[in-house]
């Protein structure tokens, strides 16, 4: 019999990024005993990569800003497919969540009158992003990390133990959620996982689990995401009986570095464009003016001169088209490269060097400068960058109740990138940091109150634990199993070439066939070596999660016959008002395959509808909805 360490907590938070930490703080403040489970060391989560800022309508820079405007921008960005209630809550609560961070010790950049400074960003009507240079994500994670430490110090003072009420399980991976009961009575009972360091197993007995595991980007070769982004939370939710929504919508950040390889996939923040950077093709043409879609024509400059004036006089000029929403810019770059006007490495040029003095670039984009100088010996104050679309964010995710973040299975909650609906078909820059704060807090709050209402704690079923142990050990015991690195690389090839930024029916069908073959091969994956810190084994266990979320993406992408936000079908290039009314829902069939279903999207309340002009709604909605 294998040795299994056992713990009991009220709330187990899986994931130690912004959403997870915020949820843990909230649950602890509600008096619960909380475990934070992190695949990496504490404080290394992917949230540190966020550069631009956190969107919140505080109105510090432009007092015209308010939650209604932010809501409108979010819905427009998501092409009206967003869960309106989530977008509403997000816009309303984001400022409070940001201000709260200051009481935890965060130091945002300031305006002249000492308030939190806010910067312009693609798709946001007013300067709205609270920021710290270009390392806002790091500030956020460090602030939350230090708040947790401060709560642990309070607990030490009260109970004599730092870990009395919050404990961080670093380098620990959850492979299964444990459930009690079946059918309608099914509820969360705990979670099973292993310590990466020792390979030892661990069981958490807990009535409530918050998923905050981030995204799925590791299924793609060119990605800004770290190795952790293997869709664990998506897959755990599916296996627990929850549903995924909108999985076809993946955001490809328009400006990832494509050359040199040491920085391939790494993001060049949108602020480079917000601060004056422009996109040029290999012929030296500033091409974005040719790609402004009709729905945005009114808000964007028509000439380079007007665009240039906007940086200093935004009230009387319209913004340059480089600041269109991410999906538009990504598509434009893709078209230029496909038309043969790209660089050798398959990108276009992003030029700020010729537009701003070196000193100003250094001041405004210090870590960007530093990053490329050190990582790739590229001097962004002297030469243009080579950029192209890189897989960045998944809009789709676990279907949750907007108010409570509940994932449908009693006791299961999801927040941050792993949840779906908030961003619709396309996320605006800056909305992810505020999303994870707003819904991280809600998930923690409602997970805590759920445990209050329980008559009895659920019991862990030992057969589930035994099955989880067997599944976890199987790659190590399998003789002559296939190399996990090869399998991952093959999976990335399928997703990159067949389910990439521009999609076609034939290719998507092909991808499903190839994913089915990969499913067979992944069941026979093997790992050499022992259980102690063995990355090959860890990858082997992650592969099945990557596979199932890839299948969801491919299936939903094939089903949705329109182009919208992060989903572009070459064979259906137009946005369709009928498709807007449909959410695609993925669930797991009894045989373990992916089932796909249509579900109508919730109808926006008249008050919220009233925030838009009828003429704008007409671009998105059917005749029937408008009348």
């Amino acid at each position: 019999m294998v040795n299994i360490e056992a713990h009991a907590y009220d709330v187990v938070v899986i994931g130690a990024g912004g959403a997870g930490l915020r949820a843990a703080i909230e649950a602890r403040l509600a008096g619960k005993k909380v475990a934070i489970i992190s695949k990496s060391l504490f404080g290394k989560a992917h949230t540190v990569m966020a550069e631009g800022g956190a969107a919140a309508a505080m109105g510090n820079v432009n007092s015209n800003d308010n939650w209604q405007v932010h809501f409108r921008d979010t819905m427009r960005g998501g092409k009206f497919l967003n869960n309106y209630r989530m977008a509403e809550l997000h816009a309303k609560e984001a400022p409070d969540r940001i201000w709260e961070l200051e009481t935890y010790g965060a130091l945002f950049d300031r305006t002249k009158d000492g308030k939190i400074s806010q910067r312009n960003f693609g798709g946001h009507e007013y300067p709205r992003l609270a920021h710290v240079g270009d390392r806002t994500g790091l500030e956020l994670i460090r602030t939350l990390q230090q708040k947790i430490v401060s709560l642990q110090q309070e607990d030490k003072a009260k109970f004599g133990d730092y870990q009395a009420r919050i404990r961080v399980f670093a380098e620990c991976t959850i492979t299964e959620l444990l459930l009690e009961g079946t059918g309608a009575k099914k509820r969360i009972a705990g979670a099973f996982g292993y310590y990466r360091e020792s390979g030892e197993f661990v069981v958490f007995e807990a009535p409530a689990v918050v998923l905050a595991t981030g995204g799925v980007g590791r299924s793609y070769k060119v990605t800004s995401n770290s190795w952790e982004y293997t869709g664990d939370g998506h897959a755990l939710a599916l296996r627990a009986g929850a549903k995924l929504i909108n999985m076809e919508f993946l955001q490809f950040h328009p400006t990832g570095m494509v050359w040199p390889p040491s920085v391939r996939g790494i993001l060049v923040t949108e602020s480079v464009r917000g601060d004056g950077g422009i996109l040029k093709n290999s012929e030296g043409k500033r091409f974005m003016f040719d790609y402004v879609p009709d729905v945005f024509r009114k808000q964007y400059a028509e000439t380079p001169e007007e665009g240039d004036r906007w940086y200093t006089d935004p009230d009387n000029n319209r913004r340059p088209p480089e600041l269109l929403p991410r999906d538009e810019v990504a598509r434009a770059i893709n078209s230029e490269v496909k038309a043969g006007r790209g660089t050798k490495a398959g990108g276009v040029y992003l030029d700020i060097a010729s537009r701003r003095p070196a000193a100003e670039i250094l001041k405004r984009l210090p870590s960007m400068y530093h990053q490329f100088k050190e990582l790739a010996d590229v001097d962004i104050t002297a030469q243009p960058m080579e950029v192209g679309p890189t897989c960045h964010y998944v809009m789709g995710g676990v279907e949750v109740d907007p108010d409570t973040a509940s994932a449908g299975v009693p006791g299961l909650y999801a927040a941050g990138e792993v949840s779906g609906g908030m961003h619709g078909s396309n996320r605006l820059g800056g909305n992810s940091l505020s999303d994870l704060l707003v819904f991280g807090k809600r998930a923690g709050e409602y997970a805590a109150s759920y445990t209050d209402e329980l008559a009895a704690r659920p019991k862990i079923d030992d057969t589930q634990v035994a099955a989880a142990v067997e599944a976890a050990l199987s790659p190590l015991t399998r003789e002559g199993g296939e190399n996990p690195y090869t399998l991952q690389s093959d999976l990335q090839d399928v997703m990159g070439t067949l389910v990439g930024i521009i999609r076609r029916k034939g290719e998507l069908e092909d991808s499903l066939r190839q994913l089915a073959e990969l499913r067979e091969r992944i069941q026979k994956v093997g790992a050499t070596g022992g259980r102690r810190y063995n990355p090959g084994w860890h990858l082997a266990l992650d592969l099945r999660n990557m596979l199932v979320v890839s299948e969801c993406t491919a299936k939903a992408a094939l089903e949705r016959e329109e182009s919208r936000g992060g989903h572009t079908r070459e064979d259906f290039p137009k946005m369709s008002a009928t498709w807007r009314k449909v959410n695609l829902i993925c669930s797991l069939s009894t045989e373990g395959g992916v089932d796909l279903a249509h579900q109508p999207i919730p109808t926006m309340t008249p008050e919220l509808l009233g925030l838009f002009e009828q003429s704008e709604l007409a671009k998105y909605m059917t005749e029937e909805e408008l009348s």
Binding site: S40, G43, K44, W99, L138, Y162, A170, S226, S367, A376
Partner: protein
């Protein structure tokens, strides 16, 4: 594409050895790319931490040819074509396996350090700070916690016995950050650094600054100012009080009308010593600094053999009572 020679340490806490590998290297790659290729092609269970591969998370700390570095920020082009590249785990922390070490020391020290203390009467949303004031702390908040500074610091590098009393450069910049935070409600950050974190162990060799991938001036901007102010504050209660109520730029010029060290008004007996309680006070002179504005901490550069006088080197004893704001309760005879 070329094939290059690598030596990578493999083993665990019971011991290990440097293994030789020949690995493909392409133009524009970094050491972490090569470690990944090694995992994918030759050693699938080679343990190595990494996350962002963009110099932002501080996970892939290792020693490359003996230098503490981030694997993702060490370009292969910085080595000679025929150079053998040796990759070993961080030396200061116990090895778990291969390139992965147990860095829990750093988290324990962070846990023991008093957290940010929010000002009591300022509501969320009402925090007001000037950019110039937050920038000083922001420099230290750039820290990505790669722990290379902790690893290179010779106070603990080969001195396990110092770990109990010494928090290390990472936590000194955290102390400096909170000390310089415009709204932190605690006034004793420097004392904590001195008394609980072992700031005094540091003798300013600047190794930590040298290895910092974020180029934080750990020694010059955090450790030295903390040391200097610990020295002058430790002996002067007036400065302690002044710092609580004044901004730094007001400290030297503003005189205190009533000596603040006394509580309440003092009555002077008739015919007693002519004490002027309202005499403007200058701050303590502080230790002598060199051209760069730093204390001469090296005795070779100082003009005297011992430490500087805590009362300032230009004061001779006994002092003339007329220059003091002190009235001996026993009267003029004392």
């Amino acid at each position: 594409m070329t094939v290059r020679q690598f030596k990578v340490w493999r083993g665990d806490e019971s011991g290990g050895q440097l293994n030789d590998y020949q690995v493909e290297v392409n133009e524009g790659e970094v050491v972490l790319d090569i470690i990944h290729r090694l995992q994918a092609t030759q050693e699938p269970d080679l343990a190595c931490r990494w996350n962002c591969k963009a110099g932002k998370c501080g996970s892939c700390s290792m020693e490359i040819n003996g230098m503490p570095r981030l694997g993702c920020m060490t370009r292969m082009s910085t080595f000679e074509e025929d150079e053998t590249i040796t990759v070993t785990p961080l030396r200061t922390f116990p090895v778990i396996r291969d390139l992965v070490t147990d860095v829990s020391f750093n988290y324990q020290k962070a846990l023991e350090m008093p957290a940010f203390a929010p000002p009591k009467d300022v509501e969320p949303g009402e925090y007001r700070m000037q950019q110039v004031d937050v920038e000083r702390s922001q420099e230290f908040r750039k820290c990505i916690e790669c722990f290379l500074c902790q690893n290179t610091c010779h106070v603990v590098r080969d001195h396990e016995e110092n770990k109990l009393a010494f928090s290390g450069p990472r936590l000194f910049i955290r102390a400096a950050e909170l000390d310089m935070h415009p709204l932190d409600a605690r006034g004793d950050r420097k004392e904590i650094a001195q008394q609980q974190q072992g700031l005094g162990y540091c003798n300013i060799t600047k190794c930590c600054t040298e290895v910092c991938p974020e180029h934080i001036k750990i020694t010059d901007n955090a450790i030295i100012p903390m040391k200097e102010r610990v020295v002058d504050r430790r002996y002067d209660p007036l400065v302690v009080f002044g710092r609580k109520i004044l901004r730094r730029d007001q400290l030297t010029s503003t005189a205190v009308a009533e000596p603040a060290v006394h509580s309440g008004p003092v009555t002077v007996a008739e015919g007693a010593a002519p004490v002027n309680f309202s005499r403007p006070l200058s701050g303590p002179p502080g230790p002598e600094v060199n051209a760069a504005g730093h204390v001469n901490l090296n005795e070779m550069l100082s003009d005297r053999a011992a430490a500087a006088s805590p009362f300032g080197d230009d004061i001779t004893f006994p002092v003339d009572p007329k220059t003091l704001n002190y009235y001996h309760p026993g009267g003029a005879d004392h």
